[in-house]
Symmetry: C2
Subunit: 82 residues, 2 copies
């Protein structure tokens, strides 16, 4: 299992309820790819969402986000953490 | 207290030891600005570092990183979290 940070753009003005709804859509199907979305943080001014996840590959994480209706704009494998 | 994610570019090939050293340089002075750096994640292939912190303002976080010798390229206030 690897850990990933992916980033979504364009979430300007999105509310906590809307972010929770998007996150729940990921959680509902994540096990089909062996992925787990641990946390999502939003800056509603810049519209950036940061999702911290674990899973077997970056492709698996990206597939869940795509199927849930919100493809990521960027993804990074976090092989080092302090 | 607010929560922030800042991003550094250009850390391609950096090791865990080097990241820990940079993080320790932040921890050594963070209290002077009322900031706390909770976690730092690195993708050594893309060279991106993501730092999760809490503090009184984005300027306070940026000042600690600058004084520690590694100014951030981007910072986002994470007012929403799920």
């Amino acid at each position: 299992m690897a850990r990933f940070m992916d980033i979504h753009d364009g979430f300007v003005g999105v509310t906590k309820e809307q972010l929770a709804e998007a996150h729940d859509a990921d959680l509902a199907i994540e096990s089909e790819e062996g992925v787990h979305f641990e946390r999502a943080w939003l800056d509603p001014e810049s519209g950036k969402v940061f999702c911290l996840s674990s899973g077997p590959s970056r492709e698996a994480v990206l597939r869940i986000h795509e199927r849930a209706g919100h493809p990521a704009d960027e993804i990074h494998e976090l092989s080092i953490e302090v």
